[in-house]
């Protein structure tokens, strides 16, 4: 008995050490110079916590099997995944984290004594874990475009109703039912409602808003782990879970701010896309340009700003873009990349793609750094970006994106817009940039257009 007590006191101290490592790790992960080390530190923290837990494990076979399967699947996914599919992968992993805590809470349901507080913790942990799991799976489906469902369809409406019902059931379980003895059937209903509720939570949210949802689910998966920590009286679960909860929350807020929308609006309202339909269409002349004309202008310019957007990811054009950048530099042109925080479909999307294509991160500049000197830029090359360069955000108080910070390319001397058509971007609003005096449209798939420019340069 004394021996076991000693072990658990010792474990607790090691858990604290591991918690401090996690904290330091995530701190370092947030800075460019130390990010790799930070990730390593956090992995070390994980290893420490797991290792010290293993010393008095009851069922080693179970553990070996579980960890082995997990290690194989996890490593395979991590090594195989394409950088453009990172959003889906993050969604999936969020789901797994949620599922693990869901199972933990479920199992604890059979172990806890008749203590009402522990019972409440089981209910809440089950709920957060379950919603994170099923919600993440839906987010995964939407992002990988395996799942397409109308917001107005009957099934969506049904599931949304289930989501609200599940919330009410949880509140009932937490605040009222504890007066009675919790019964198995009661809990089974919660299990089912929770899983369906998670689906209902995410399904009505537009595909483009998925990055915000993923961040939020990331946060939830952390909170679920923290609650599991409360349930199991385990402080490293509490700390690590809280850190994830905080990090997810911050990313959610950053994204919402960069889109100038509230989180509530994103989750429960969505863009009022109908309003843009009734809006008077922008009139004016669109001036297309050919690849060879564009080449001539680029060749003679001394400073070029490249603004990538979702279209670059779709066209997988990051490698040719980097090539173009290098050719321009070899030609004596100063090249910078203007990266908008919500360009693409997940936070930092463009940074990851460009990093993958070997663009050094110190030529990437943020809107605040580039906007004040935009008038010194000879050519702004907009590659598959739309909303993030839409001047309505600063000029048209009625626009749905009004107030969103943008990269103000319309102040550059010349603007090239590379896209396939005149269709709008994610927010579904017209872009007056296309009709400006200094704008030229280079129609076509981004990879093809840039590829064309690259071969012109090489000739």
């Amino acid at each position: 008995m004394n021996f076991i007590e000693n072990i658990s006191a010792f474990q607790n101290i090691i858990y604290i050490v591991s918690s401090i490592l996690f904290i330091t790790g995530i701190k370092m992960l947030g800075k460019e110079d130390t990010a790799v080390k930070g990730n390593f530190l956090s992995a070390l923290a994980m290893f420490t916590a797991v290792a010290i837990t293993l010393i008095d494990i009851v069922n080693p076979l179970l553990v070996i099997i579980g960890i082995s399967i997990g290690a194989i699947i996890g490593s395979l996914i991590a090594l195989k995944v394409k950088m453009t599919s990172i959003p889906e992968m993050v969604a999936l992993f969020n789901g797994f984290g949620g599922l693990a805590t869901f199972f933990i809470a479920w199992s604890e349901f059979y172990s806890i004594p008749d203590n009402t507080f522990q019972y409440v913790l089981v209910m809440i942990t089950t709920y957060i874990g379950g919603v994170t799991f099923s919600g993440s799976i839906i987010a995964y489906g939407k992002l990988s475009e395996k799942l397409k469902i109308q917001k107005t369809s009957l099934i969506t409406k049904f599931l949304t109703t289930i989501f609200y019902a599940s919330l009410i059931y949880l509140l009932y379980a937490v605040f009222i039912s504890k007066i009675f003895v919790p019964s198995f059937d009661f809990y089974t209903i919660l299990l089912i409602l929770t899983l369906l509720g998670g689906i209902g939570f995410v399904i009505p949210i537009g595909g483009g808003d998925m990055p915000v949802v993923i961040s939020l689910l990331n946060s939830f998966s952390g909170i679920a782990a923290a609650f599991a920590g409360l349930l199991l009286l385990n402080n490293v679960l509490i700390v690590a879970g809280s850190l994830v909860g905080a990090s997810g929350l911050i990313l959610t807020i950053i994204m919402a701010k960069a889109m100038n929308r509230s989180i509530g609006n994103i989750l429960f309202v969505g863009y009022a896309s109908s309003s843009s339909g009734t809006k008077s269409e922008e009139t004016g002349e669109v001036k297309p340009i050919s690849v060879s004309d564009a080449y001539l202008i680029l060749e003679n310019s001394s400073s070029v700003l490249i603004i990538p957007g979702y279209g670059m990811a779709v066209a997988q054009a990051q490698h040719v873009v980097r090539e173009l950048g290098e050719l321009l530099e070899a030609n004596g042109t100063e090249v910078k990349y203007g990266i908008h925080p919500v360009a693409g479909r997940m936070p930092g999307h463009m940074n990851v793609l460009l990093a993958e294509a070997n663009v050094p991160y110190d030529v990437l500049v943020e809107p605040d750094d580039v906007n004040p000197t935009m008038d010194t830029v000879d050519v702004a090359v907009v590659i598959g970006a739309n909303d993030v360069v839409n001047p309505s955000a600063t000029e048209e108080p009625g626009s749905p994106i009004y107030g969103m910070p943008i990269i103000e390319v319309h102040n550059a001397r010349t603007v090239f817009v590379l896209k396939r058509s005149m269709s709008s971007g994610f927010a579904g609003v017209q872009n007056p940039l296309f009709f400006k005096e200094n704008t030229r449209m280079l129609f076509g798939d981004a990879k093809d257009s840039i590829g064309g420019l690259v071969s012109e340069f090489k000739d």
Partner: protein, 90 residues
């Protein structure tokens, strides 16, 4: 002193600390941070390891929890590392 009050306090302090530490993360690191956080949420593994397995159902639940949490841990750290290694200065 109630243990839950104290643990709840640790939870609040950690969230506060997390918010402070991460609030100024540059946008370059948003994606790696997300997947790094993902890996950390695999800490559920530690919880999964201490579950009772008195019944068959509990045994299965523990196995599943361990497996999924492990996927998170291994997948999360590896992919984050892969991503971070791509970031280079000039």
């Amino acid at each position: 002193m109630e243990i839950y009050v104290l643990l709840g306090f640790v939870l609040i302090l950690s969230i506060y600390l997390g918010l402070e530490l991460i609030s100024k993360v540059p946008s370059t690191l948003h994606t790696p941070l997300m997947s790094g956080a993902n890996a950390i949420s695999g800490i559920a593994l530690v919880g999964a390891l201490v579950l009772n397995s008195d019944t068959h159902l509990q045994e299965i639940l523990a196995l599943l929890a361990i497996t999924f949490a492990s996927i998170n841990v291994f997948g999360g750290y590896l992919v984050t590392n892969r991503m971070l290694k791509m970031f280079k200065k000039k």
